[in-house]
Symmetry: C5
Subunit: 352 residues, 5 copies
C-alpha cells in the first residue's frame, strides 16, 4: 500500500508544485485543541494525540486544529482512534487532492484549498482537510502559518455568534474565512490586471505577452481551487445529515453565493485576458503598420528624386539640359514639386 502512495506522491508536481510533502522541511506538526460551548471554553496545545479522545466533552464543540500533514504515522493514529477510513487518511496525507466532499455514516470529509502568498510573494495553494462529526471537527492544514488564527480569537473572546451555536456553524465560519481569502487575492489580481492593461496600451513588448500568460496560468490555478467548491457546497446544502441543522441552510447558501461571485470574477478576468491578447496582437500589427508607413513615405519620396538626379548624372555628350543656364535650378524646382505632390498624396491617405 505504501508503494502505491509513493506513486501518487510523485504526481503532486503536476498539480501543486510548491506544496509537495517531500520537502518535509523540519516543520513540526502543531496540534491545537478547542472545546467550547456558550459558557465554557478550553484550549490546549497537544504534543501527541494519545489521549485526545478523552478530552472530548459531549455537549461542547470539540475542534482539533492540526497544522502540518507530513507525519503519516500521526494521521494513521488519528484514523485508527476515531475510526476514519484508511483512504481518507491517505487523502489527508497526499495533498494534491481535488476539492471534494465524502459522506460516511459517522462523519463528513471535505477537502478544500486555502490560498496565500508565501514569503516570496508567490501564490501558494494549500490543502485543508476537514472532518465533521457529531460534536467534533478536525481540520488538517498542510502548511504553516495557521489560517484560522482569527477564528481562534473569535472563540476565545466569544465574539459574534460562534460560541452560541453548534459544530456546523464552526464549519461555516471556516469555509467563510477560506472563501474570503480568495476574495482578497482576487482583488489584488484585479489591480494587477488593470496595471498590466495600462502597460499593454502604452508599450506592447513581447515580455508583456509572457506576463499576460503567466497571469492566465495563475488564474487557472485559482479557478481549479474554487470551481469544485460550487459542487461541494451545493452537495453540503442538499445533504440530509445528523450533524448539520436545517437552520444552517442560509449560512451555506451565503458561502455558496460568495463562491459564485468568485467564479464570476474569474470568468470576467479570463474574458479580459483574452481581450488583452487581442489588443496585443493588434498593437503589434499596428506598430508594423507604422514602421511600414515610415519606410514607404521615405522611399516613395526619395526614390523618384534619386532617379532624376541619376538622369542628369549620366555622361551622354549630347544632353542639352546640362548646358542650360537655369537647368540645375529648374530640376531642383521639379523635385520640390514632386515632394509637395507626394506630401499631399500621403495627407489624403491619412499617413501623415
Amino acid at each position: 500500500m505504501l508503494k502505491l502512495i509513493g506513486q501518487k506522491d510523485s504526481t503532486i508536481d503536476i498539480k501543486n508544485t510548491n506544496n509537495s510533502n517531500s520537502t518535509t522541511n523540519s516543520k513540526e506538526t502543531i496540534i491545537r485543541f478547542f472545546s467550547y460551548n456558550e459558557n465554557n471554553f478550553e484550549e490546549k496545545e497537544l504534543k501527541n494525540i494519545d489521549k485526545l479522545a478523552d478530552l472530548f466533552i459531549s455537549n461542547r464543540v470539540n475542534w482539533v486544529d492540526i497544522v502540518g500533514t507530513h507525519d503519516f504515522e500521526l494521521l494513521k493514529n488519528i484514523g485508527n482512534n476515531f475510526n476514519i477510513h484508511p483512504l481518507i487518511v491517505e487523502d489527508i496525507y497526499t495533498t494534491n487532492q481535488r476539492l471534494k466532499i465524502d459522506y460516511f455514516p459517522d462523519y463528513i470529509f471535505i477537502v478544500l484549498k486555502a490560498i496565500n502568498y508565501d514569503k516570496d510573494e508567490v501564490l501558494e495553494l494549500e490543502q485543508i482537510s476537514l472532518i465533521l462529526g457529531k460534536n467534533f471537527v478536525f481540520t488538517f492544514q498542510e502548511l504553516q502559518p495557521n489560517q484560522f488564527e482569527q477564528i481562534h480569537d473569535r472563540i476565545r473572546s466569544s465574539k459574534g455568534r460562534i460560541r452560541k451555536l453548534s459544530v456546523d456553524y464552526l464549519v461555516y465560519v471556516i469555509l467563510d474565512v477560506l472563501v474570503d481569502n480568495f476574495f482578497n487575492i482576487l482583488e489584488d489580481y484585479g489591480d494587477r490586471l488593470d496595471a498590466l492593461q495600462e502597460t499593454l496600451i502604452q508599450n506592447p513588448t513581447p515580455e508583456i505577452l509572457h506576463e499576460i500568460y503567466d497571469f492566465k496560468k495563475e488564474i487557472i490555478k485559482i479557478r481549479k481551487a474554487t470551481w469544485p467548491l460550487r459542487e461541494v457546497l451545493s452537495q453540503l446544502s442538499k445533504m440530509d445529515s445528523d450533524f448539520i441543522n436545517e437552520s444552517m441552510g442560509v449560512y451555506i447558501r451565503d458561502v455558496y453565493d460568495h463562491v459564485i461571485q468568485i467564479i464570476d470574477t474569474i470568468e470576467t478576468f479570463r474574458d479580459m485576458i483574452s481581450g488583452m491578447i487581442d489588443i496585443f496582437m493588434s498593437s503589434v500589427s499596428n506598430k508594423m503598420n507604422e514602421v511600414m508607413k515610415v519606410l514607404t513615405i521615405i522611399a516613395t519620396i526619395f526614390i523618384p528624386l534619386t532617379f532624376i538626379a541619376g538622369i542628369y548624372g549620366m555622361n551622354f555628350q549630347n544632353m542639352p539640359e546640362l548646358a542650360w543656364k537655369w537647368g540645375y535650378l529648374s530640376i531642383v524646382c521639379v523635385m520640390v514639386v514632386i515632394v509637395i505632390g507626394m506630401i499631399i498624396f500621403f495627407r489624403r491617405k491619412k499617413w501623415l
Copy 2:
C-alpha cells in the same frame, strides 16, 4: 462579525467600483411608507422605523421604500423588528451581492440590480433588495434617486390595476420597472454600437479598438446584472408560497420573457462585437496591404530606371553609346517603355 463584514466590503471594488458604501457621502436615508388597497391610500415619509410595525394595516398592501443602505444600525433595527435573518441584513448592507432569491417561512428575499446613468453619464449599477411578506414589501435602494417614482405616482392616482391587486402584483410592477430600464439602456447601446461600426469602417484607428473593448466590458457588466435574473424569475414562478397567488404566473412569465429578450440582445451585441474585432483586424491588414502596394509600385518602377541611369553615369572611357547623337533620347525612350510595361503589369495584378 463586524470585522468579517469589513473584509467583504473591501471586495466591493472588484464588482461595482462606483457603488461602494464607503463613500457614505452625507446622503441621508429616506424612508417612504405606503399603505393602500382599492379604497384606501396612505403615504408617509418617516424619519426612523421605531413605530413602523404599528403603521401596518393587515388588509392593505404595506410598502416600505427605503433609499440609502449605508446606515447599518437602521438596517439592523428593521431586521430585529421584523424578524429578518442577520445574514439577510448583511446582504442588504453589503451592496456587492449577486442577484438571488432566498426563501424563508415568513418572507422571500430578492436581490436585484437597477441600472442608471449617473450625473457624468457613466453607467451605474445599484443594488435593490426586496423583502416580500404576507401583506408587506420592503424595498432597499442603494442609491438616490428613487427608481420607483412612477410606481408611487401610479399608486397615488390609482392608475391601472395596482390598487386593486395584492402585494405580489406590486412586486411584479417593481420587477417590470427595473427590467424596462435595462431595455432602455440597451437601446442606447444599440445606437452606440451602430455608430461605432460606422466609424470602424471609415477609419479603423487603434483608439476604436479600445472603445470596442470598453464597450464589451460594459456589456459584460450588464450581462452579470441580468443573466441571474433568469434563474431568479424561474424560481419565483415555480415557487409554492403563501404570498404569491397562482394568478401571478402570467405576470412573472411576462417579466421572464423580457429578461430572455434582454439576454438575447446582449448575446447579439457580443456576436456583433466579435465581428467588429474581426473587421478591425482585417482592415488593419488591408491598410498595410495598401501601404505595401504603394511602396512596391514606386520602388518597382524607379529602381530599374535608376539602375539604367546609373549605367550611363559610369565613367568608362570606352562607352560608345555616350557619344551617339540620339543616345540620351533613346535611353529616355527605353525608360518610358519600361514605365508603361510596369503600369500594364500592375493593372493586370489589379494593384492600380
Copy 3:
C-alpha cells in the same frame, strides 16, 4: 399602464427595426372569418368584431384571421369579448415578442414569426400571434400581405384533409406554412452563400468581408426567429390539453423535424461563414505575400546592379578598370551573370 406600454414600444427598435407599430401607415385592419366543417363552409370579411361571438358555430372550426395589429382598441375589444388576459392582448399589440407558448384554462397562446421579403427585397420578420381555443382559432398577423392565402384556398376548395379534421389540424397547417417559408428563404440564402464564396475566392475585396458580415447578421436574425420554435413545439407536443387530440402528435413531430432541419441548416451556414472569414483572412495575407515577392525580386535584382554602376560612377582619378578597353563590356557581363544567378535563386525558392 399605457405609459408602460409606451416604454416597451420604444424598445422595438432593438429587435425588429422594420416592423414597428409606430408607423401605422394608414393600413387598415382586415378581419376575415371562416367557419367550416366537412360539409359546411362560411366565409365573411368583417368591419368590426362587435357581433363576432354570435357568428361562432359550436360544431365547426371557427377561424378569425386578423391582418394588422396596430389598432389597440380593437385588440382590447377582442380581449374583453373572448376573455383573453390583458397581458396577452399587450403581447399581440407589441410586436417585438419572443417566440413563446402560454397556457390558460380556456385557450393556448402562441407567438410566432413569419419571414418575408418586402417590396425592396429586404428580409422582414413579422409577428404572428395565435390563440387556440376549444373550437376556434384567432390569428393576428402584424403586416400585410396575408400569409395564409393558400390555407384559405384549401379550406374553400376542401382540398386535402383540412375540412375533415378539427381545430388543432388547422394550427398544424398554419405552423407548417410558416416553417416552409423559412425553408424557402434559407434555400435562397444557400444560393447567395455559394455565390459569395465564388466571388471570395476570385477577388477578396474588403467589401466582400462586409457582405459576409451582413449575411451573418441576417442569419442571426433568422436564427432568433426559429430557434425558440424548437421549445415551443416540444412543449406543444408534450401538452396535455383538451384542444389538442392525441392523434395530432405525429403532425407536431413533423413540424418539429422541419424546425430541427432549419436549425441544422443555419448552423451549417454559420460554420461555412466562419470558414469563409478564414479564407478571406488567408487570401489577404496571400496577396500581401505576392506584393512582397514582386518588391523583393525587383529590389534584390537591381539594388546590387545599381551599386556596381555606382562604383564605376565614382570620380577617383586612379581607377584602372575605367581605362580598360573591355571594361564596360565585362561589367555588363558581370551584371548579366548576377541577374541569372538571382533568377536561379528565386526559382529554387519557388518565387517565380
Copy 4:
C-alpha cells in the same frame, strides 16, 4: 396536400443536392421479398405490391426490401395496405429527412442515411427508411445499388445467427451494415487527411486551404448523417415495445458503441483540420518572413555601399580623396569591411 409536398421538395437542395427525387431518371423501383425462419426460406422479386399482404407468413420474418422511392403512388399503396400514417409515407418519399425514430402502436418508423461513393467517386448520402412491425420489416432505399446484398446472401446461405433469430435481429444487422459503411468511408478520409497534412507541410499553397475547407464540408455532411444516430439508437434501446426483445439490448448497445466511435473520429478529424488551418496560417506568415529577410539582407548590405559610391560620384572640385593614389582601393576596402560587418550582424540575428 400535393402542393405542400411540392414545396418541401424544393428545399431538398439545401440538404442533399445529389439525391433529389426530381431527377427520376427512368430508374425502376425494385421490390424484393424475403420470408424466412430457421427452417424455411422464400425469396421473390415483385413487380407490384398488390398481393404483398397475402405473401406474409405469420411465424416467419417477412422482409420487403424496396430500392427506389420516387414512385409516390406505390408508396401510397403500401401505406394504405399496411395502415401506415400518410405523413410517414411522405417522409419516405421526400428524401431530405433528418434521422429520426417514430413510434406507432403497430410499427416503428426509422429514418437513416447510407453513405456511398457514386460512379464519379463523389460522396453520396442516401436515405434509408425502415418500418419495423410485429413480424415484418420494410426497407426503402432511395437509390441503387442495393446496400443490403450481403444481408441477402447471409439469409440465403443461412450464415451466422440471422435465420435463427426474429425480426428485431434483422434490424440490428441492417443498422450494423450501414454503420460499418461509415467506418470504411472514415478510414479513407483518415488516409486523405494524412496525405493533405503531408502536402501542407511541404508546400502550403492557397489551393491546399481550399482543399482543407472542402474536406471540412464533407466531414460536416457525414457528421449530420451520423450524429442523430446516437439519439435514435439511444431511444431504440430504451424503448418498451412488443417488436423488440429484451435480449436485443446488447446488440443495440453494440451498434451504439460503434456510432460513438464514429462521432469520436469525426471530432478528432475536426480538431486536426483546425490544427491544419493554424499550421497553414503560420506557414504563410513564415514564408512572408523569409521573403522579408531576403529583401532586408540585400537592401541593408547594398544601400549603404551605394551611398558611399554615390559620395565619390559627386562632382565637387575640391574632393581630396579623389586624387589620392590609394583612394579607390581604400574605399573598396571600407565597403568589404561593411559587408563583413553586416554578415556578422545577420548571423547574430540568426537570419543567415
Copy 5:
C-alpha cells in the same frame, strides 16, 4: 459473421494504429491463474483453458489474467465455457473498442485502456478487458508486457488489504494501477511541455509548431482513453449489483477522483498548448516586425543621403556649389546632421 468482424478489423487503423491484431507477431497468449483468500493462495500458469472451470474455488477470489487477445478461438472457448455473450467475445478480440461498461445478469464487462511507452519510447494504448463475476475476475490484456505484475506480487506476499477482501477489491486495485499509469505519463508530459515552452520562447522555429501539434495529438489520444472512464466509474458506483459490496463505494470514488484530476490536467495542458500557439504566432509577427525595423532604419537613413549625393553627381555645367571651396565638407556635414536627426527620430519611436 466472421466477415463482419473482418470489416471492423480494418477500421482499427483509424483508432489505434499501433495496436492492430493483424500483426499477430508470433506472440503467445499467456494465461495466469490466481486463486486466493486470506489464508490460501494458489498460482498457476496455464497452457489452455480446458479445465479452467474446475480450478475455481467458490469461497476464494479466482483471477484469470490473460495477456494477448489475438487468438480468437481461445476467446470463443472461454466465452462458451463461462457463458459470455458472443458480442462480448468479439469486443475483447477487436481491440479498438471505446471504454465502456456493460451489465449482464451473471457478470459485468468493462473495457479499459492501459498506457505505456513501447521499446521505441512511443506512446502505446492497449485495450484491457475485464469480466467481473460472482467470485471471479477475467482480465484480457492486448499486449505484453503484463501490466499487473505489481498486483501479482502484492497477492503473493499478502501485502496490504488485497488478500483480506473480496473480488470487487481486486477490480479496484486493477483500476487504480491503470489510472496511476496515466498519472505517471502525464507527469512526463508536463515536463516535456515545460521544455517545449522554454524552447518556444528562445527560438520559435516552424519545427516547434509541428512539435506542439504532435504533442496536442498525443494529448487528444490520452484524452480519448481517459474521458469515458469518468462515465464508466460513475456507472460502476451507482450500480446495484451482487458482485459489488456497498463498502466498495469509497474505493470507486477514490479512483473516480483520480480520473477527474487526470481530466483536469489534460484540460490544463490543452489550455497551455493553445496559449503556446498564440505565443508562437505573436513571436513570428514580432520577428517580422524586427526585420522590418532594421530594413526601415537602414533605408530611411541612407536613401535621403544617397539622393543628396546623387544631386551633386549631376553634370549640370552651372552648379555653383560644386566650385565652392568648402562645398564637399558642408555637404558631408549636412549628411551627418540628417543621420543624427534620424537616430533621434528612431529613438523617440523606440525602434533603437
